[in-house]
């Protein structure tokens, strides 16, 4: 195209003259400029553009009007078409000359002399003498929202704690809110849970593990003396246990769509992320240290930009940014949008995971339901296009994702593969299917590495991708935050920085109405089975409304006030009377509130995949309570799909198993694990026969039952009655009733005969107890 040099010269000239970038307003227009516009520009616009870009057009293209000065300034979906004084950067010129994919008019470019007129006109500041015209409304902002549907964008208001006439009942302000709601629905609270039920509930909710029979004895004894003190002591002990972070960290890893491999890239390749586990350990440690939530988020978004005083702190901050690099990526091959696919994942996990708003939908067009525009999206995209996301070697398969650098850690010990380690998975050449050697990694052997993000070389605003296509570029959108979400107004983004530091500030600013509510709701959900907002990742127009809006605001404000301490909030909730109710509803709630929206009783919950496995191991005595070290795949940059089953047995807690997308460990896969492709706020709880089959036939259950039976039989002098008692106590934390004792003894006797093995019969009985609902549900 011969036009380039010409525009460049004019562009240079415009800069040299220091022309203002604001369009020339009508008052300042000289007669010559007016004449030029009327002779050259207006006729060309009318003839070539107005058919689709005027207020009276039958159908308006790209939400762009070109028939008034204001409309020209505002622009359409692709941003403003004209940057006054700067034809080289003006979309209109690219478009009219068919230099970009956004070629207009669609059939053929305008003749070069006409384009030259436009260039000249823009260079002179785009003087526009036309009368003011109409503007298209931003339909997303002006859309008729159902009343209250944008509730989450209103700042939380410190609510008045409701008064009650049942003065003895509430223990915490929380209880006043729930009680008022119950009363308004004609309900009253169920009885308090028994200490046995309460202890089990607390252990599972705070650590994901069952209490031991000895824990229970101790608790019952102190509960007799002082129930409140006994409970708060246990709660404090559990909050201080390293298992707390392993359990609550697991909740966060769902939100963070954490996994140790990429998942199917769309072409059946699934590269490992051998260093992802460092992020897992960081999350566990953060929960155990009760890192304030605002700090926790800041580290994950901009840890690389934070000051540090020790190498350990530096490393931790860098590892935290793994949050932004863990996403599942579609193949790079034949995919022009790859870089923006990576950004889309980052925006999605921040939108749904931290803010409870799906911003990612606005990648291709203004959000259809929520007040988020494509401009908002690309304003955020600029933070990440100005940064380098580092996922590593991606299985040495460039067609999936080009290899990137990684953070090199300073304080972490070097990590070498075992001496006898031999990689068994070979790489195949994608075109021939023949094996090729695995290249040596670019770092010295044993270098400790972490996934993450760092500043890019040349931070810049991101250009709007029209309809989400990276080749169809609109105007650059200044880096910033979604307009409809209130926040601090004084944050400006330095031109030479990515802006992630400011993004973290904006998200964690107390004026942001979403961040604190979203995490308070998640915490509530993990303790009650259902959030105050039932759609934890969607506080938008299509999400559910809060059942207890004042309570949610109370919790959110309380969290911020207590320096974003998640442990403090959890403590407050579990010590409430509401949390400690029995799971047995009163008759009226049984009839009127089967879903337990109004919290007049406690919702029974099934053990999730990880606590179920961990409980079986703990009861059999085989759980290794120490943190699992690293990962099975820490020395393997390979494609998982070629590796078959890479999992190996482990007795560590489930969080330390190898979470490979599309190839999860079979020990936990049967119980509704998410796909980890997106931020997951709430796991499905399905009941399918596959879960029964797991309990009948999986090696884990069979082996641990056998081990438990061996333990029972160790005490040779014990009677069978005594053994049944012991077994019930270990598995169900209670004594069998006479009927159960009778059936159990009968079972062992008959089965011993059939199996010709006493031990196998006891193992079968132990397995039968692991299979029960009593073991698998928490009242």
């Amino acid at each position: 195209m011969s036009l380039r040099p010409y525009t460049s010269i004019l562009f240079a000239a415009a800069i040299a003259h220091g022309l203002t970038l604001l369009p020339v307003v009508a008052a300042e227009i000289t007669p010559e400029q007016r004449d030029f516009f009327e002779k050259k520009i207006r006729p060309a616009l009318v003839e070539n553009c107005y058919k689709c870009h005027a207020a009276d057009s039958k159908k308006i293209g790209g939400k762009l009007l070109l028939d008034s000065p204001e409309a020209l300034l505002k622009g359409g979906e692709s941003g403003p078409p004209v940057i006054a004084g700067n034809p080289g950067e003006s979309l209109l010129i690219e478009s009219l000359s068919h230099q970009s994919d956004l070629a207009m008019p669609p059939k053929k470019p305008l003749p070069e002399p006409v384009i030259a007129d436009f260039v000249k006109w823009i260079a002179m500041g785009a003087p526009d003498p036309r009368e003011p015209g109409t503007l298209l409304s931003d339909d997303y902002a002006k859309r008729d929202y159902e009343e209250g549907s944008l509730w989450a964008l209103e700042p939380p208001r410190a609510p008045k704690v409701p008064a009650t006439d049942q003065a003895g009942w509430p223990r915490e302000p929380i209880d006043h809110f729930t009680l008022a709601k119950m009363k308004s629905k004609g309900l009253s609270p169920a009885l308090d849970a028994s200490p046995e039920v309460l202890l089990r509930r607390l252990h599972f909710d705070l650590t994901g593990l069952p209490p031991t029979p000895a824990d229970l004895d101790l608790f019952l004894a102190s509960y007799l003396l002082d129930p409140d003190k006994a409970t708060s002591t246990v709660v404090d002990d559990l909050l201080a246990s390293p298992h707390f972070g392993e359990h609550w960290g697991r909740h966060w890893l769902d939100v963070a769509r954490y996994a140790e491999s990429n998942g199917n890239d769309g072409l059946s390749r699934n590269p490992t992320f051998p260093h992802a586990w460092r992020y897992r350990d960081y999350v566990i440690e953060s929960f155990n240290n009760d890192t304030p939530y605002d700090r926790f988020l800041t580290e994950q978004i901009a840890g690389d930009l934070l000051p540090h005083s020790t190498p350990q702190e530096r490393d931790r901050n860098l590892i935290a940014t793994g949050f932004l690099a863990l996403g599942a990526k579609p193949a790079k091959a034949m995919n022009d949008n790859f870089a923006m696919d990576v950004v889309a994942d980052q925006i999605e996990v921040i939108g749904n995971g931290l803010l409870g708003i799906s911003i990612a939908c606005a990648r291709c067009h203004d959000h259809k339901f929520d007040p988020v525009s494509a401009k908002d999206y690309y304003a955020m995209a600029g933070f990440f296009t100005s940064s380098n996301t580092m996922w590593g070697l991606a299985g040495n398969e460039g067609l999936t994702a080009p290899p990137t650098d990684l953070h090199v850690l300073e304080s972490a010990p070097k990590s070498f593969p075992p001496l006898d380690f031999v990689e068994t998975v070979v790489l195949l050449q994608s075109n021939t299917g023949k094996p090729k050697p695995i290249p040596a990694p670019p770092w010295p052997k044993g270098t400790p590495l972490a996934m993450g993000i760092k500043e890019g070389k040349a931070p810049a605003d991101c250009r709007l991708n029209i309809k989400g296509e990276s080749k169809k570029l609109g105007a650059p959108i200044p880096r910033g935050f979604p307009e409809a979400i209130p926040g601090p107004s004084d944050l400006s983004i330095p031109a030479d920085k990515s802006g992630r530091a400011e993004l973290a500030q904006w998200i964690t600013h107390p004026d942001n109405p979403l961040t604190a509510r979203v995490i308070a709701n998640r915490i509530w959900q993990h303790l009650f089975g259902q959030g105050i907002v039932a759609t934890p990742n969607d506080f938008g127009v299509y999400g559910e409304r809060p059942t207890h809006p004042e309570l949610l605001d109370f919790l959110a404000i309380d969290l911020v006030k207590n320096h974003w301490s998640m442990k403090a909030l959890i403590r407050k909730i579990v010590l409430s009377r509401t949390y400690q109710l029995s799971a047995k509803p009163r008759a009226e709630a049984e009839a009127a509130d089967t879903e337990n929206q109004w919290l007049s009783y406690h919702s029974r919950r099934r053990l999730a995949a990880e606590p179920l496995r961990d409980s079986i191991l703990k009861v059999s005595g085989q759980l290794d309570p120490r943190p699992g070290e690293g990962s099975l795949i820490r020395h393997r940059d390979i494609l998982v799909n070629l590796g078959g089953n890479l999992h190996e047995p482990s007795n560590h807690r489930s969080i330390y198993l190898c979470y490979l997308r599309g190839s999860m460990p079979s020990e936990i896969a049967a119980f509704d694990l998410p796909g980890f492709l997106k931020s997951e706020g709430k796991r499905t709880v399905s009941t399918i026969p596959g879960q029964a089959l797991f309990l009948y036939n999986h090696d884990l259950v069979i082996e641990q039952s056998t081990i438990l039976a061996e333990r029972l039989l160790e005490e040779e002098s014990a009677t069978d009655e005594r053994r049944v008692e012991n077994l019930y106590r270990e598995v169900l934390l209670r004594a069998p009733d006479p009927g159960e004792r009778y059936r159990a003894l009968e079972f062992v006797q008959l089965s011993s005969d059939d199996l010709r093995s006493n031990e196998s019969a006891w193992a079968a009985l132990a397995q039968a107890l692991f299979m029960t609902n009593e073991f698998r549900y928490i009242d």
């Binding site: 299509y542 999986h698 609902n773």
Partner: protein, 440 residues
Amino acid sequence: MTTFSRRDILRQSAFGFGSLAFSAIANESGAIPRLRARAKRVIFLCMSGGPAQLDTFDYKPQTGKKPHPGSVYEFSQHGESGLHISELMPETAKHADKLCLLNGMHADTGIHAQSFLQLHTGDRLRERPSLGSWINYGLGSENENLPGFISLNTSKPSVYSSSFLPSIHNGTPIGVNGENMNTASINNIQSGHLPLAVKRRQLDFTQFMNHNHRSARPHDSKLESVIESMELGFKMQMTAPGLLDLSTESKATLERYRVGMQSGPVGTCKSTDFGRQCLLARRFAEAGVRFIEVNHGSWDQHKNHRRDLEANCAATDAPIGALLEDLDQRGLLEDTLVVWGGEFGRPGLTPGNGKDETGHNAKGFTFWLAGGGVKGGYVHGATDGTGARAVDGQVHFRDLHATILHLMGLPANDLKFQHAGREHRLTGPEGGKVAHEIFA
């Protein structure tokens, strides 16, 4: 009309249930009127991604001097009916006289995930019971040793979920998230550590405990669902391994289904995988599974439209032909409804303009049905001259759902379930229109 909620049924039942109790939806009490059933089971060949209808089943030749979007592959007429079918589907075309083409399909959105969910559940945004779950809920099982709803090579749980319907109607997945379908099985289906009699005694003990536990918690019906699903899982151990084992099939059969055969390098799902799914579908149908979904994808060919479309057709055509042939020969086709289609279609390419890229079109696309009481060699509905939108015989997903339920003997708009304070039905608040024109 009275409908029964899960809780009502529970209240009426003193102790536990037979497998049919949840499903029979109080048929005995007559709460749900039943129609004459033309079909007993459904095999849904779900082509995810949006197959290009104009190059497969909706023939759009060029009409004027100016090239316009339309079919870019050759079509010819097949069978006595003379249906136009594309050259990409030679094996399916042999069964033209069994096919009932719905060329006037339309849906609400061109967003994959939403339209895919709506195709399965009637709702674009929330998790709702899937079509297969509704059918099992309405009719109960034909074989209480197997799940009534099996989803082969499935994607995400939301499309085979029973949602608020009793969990026993949840789809059982075989092969998830691109698991190798050649070996995909039902996980943990067998173990040798206990003989069957002891396993049964063991489960009896567990269920004795579960019933005691349950009777102290009478309001909690999900505990009952677990008890039910434990029984089903137990019975599956005895029936499913045999069904999943294809070694009893003849070499000729395996070849017809392309099981074990190599195919080209393009596309993520190969003939051998899809063939195994089709063959398993036939075996499950024979065994009395009500609803079998066979998934294939992705048909979302944007760029390289021709290359990817050819690969998808090559992978699926012969196995589908073999399935139709087998069902017919075994007398199963008359009461088995076969359904083919995806979440939407695609706009046509324009011959000679050099472009090889398409998008999504939810305004007009094609499904086909076969067997199960529908007319064969029949075309219902049409799109305009360029295939851009349905202009005649329009069938929305809710109409398709209504039609399928009707063929199964269920009055679509009266199959309801009380949940969270209101009545729900598959066809949504609008209700679905049954396409009576297509019934044989």
